[in-house]
Symmetry: C2
Subunit: 147 residues, 2 copies
Amino acid sequence: MSHAGDCPLCSGPGGELLWRDDRLRVIAVDDALHPGFARVVWNAHVREMTDLDADDRAYCMAVVLAVESAVRDLVRPDKINLASFGNVVPHLHWHVIPRWTDDPHFPEPVWGARRHERAHPVSPDYRIDMQERLIRVLGPGVGIATG
Amino acid sequence: MSHAGDCPLCSGPGGELLWRDDRLRVIAVDDALHPGFARVVWNAHVREMTDLDADDRAYCMAVVLAVESAVRDLVRPDKINLASFGNVVPHLHWHVIPRWTDDPHFPEPVWGARRHERAHPVSPDYRIDMQERLIRVLGPGVGIATG
């Protein structure tokens, strides 16, 4: 795995680890305004999707969409937002964000203008449910214990 | 193809058509602050990636990444941003945005805070080059003439 010395996604998981294997990990993002926000982080320090080979591109998106599917089933959002930017941290990671028409930024992206501070309510068991779901769909993964 | 009566991506191409086939199209976005901005629009009125079957998901992302690859080669951006939101127009479309450290919103997403109004310069031949590139990589496509 390639590393970049000052990259926060090389030096730590980047959030609460929900699932990982040797290529990527799924983390829960601590965003009080957007509960259910998850990220899929490529483990190696890669900038762009097109820096991956065809098999890794397909695998990365399959996991992103497995997370999308799990989020849709578990919290029934009005919309899913997917994004890969990396302008600040140029280490490949995908945002998977459940959106509701009553959430603080809707219909803007969560990086846009904020309308209010009231998050859409999500079950406190959500992260546990999500972790169980990912293990069921993606398999047991590897290396969860070490982060 | 399914349609929604009031959907602007069902009633029109959504921008200058660069390439299309029976499943999707690639359009150039008119955004003076972000030249080179392209979208991949699924032709049918589908909300989410996970509403597509496995073959269509893979095809959609392969085209998104073919566009990413073309954009990288043609205008050499500092970063690529990819996003599928659809909060305002819930008809599946992907934003493929070349970003430069001197562009008006960097490092924010293009929907975030603006720093200045000076776009990064892009060749006036860019759209022609992009269209030629997509035809070379993806094939001739279908239905370009009808939009």
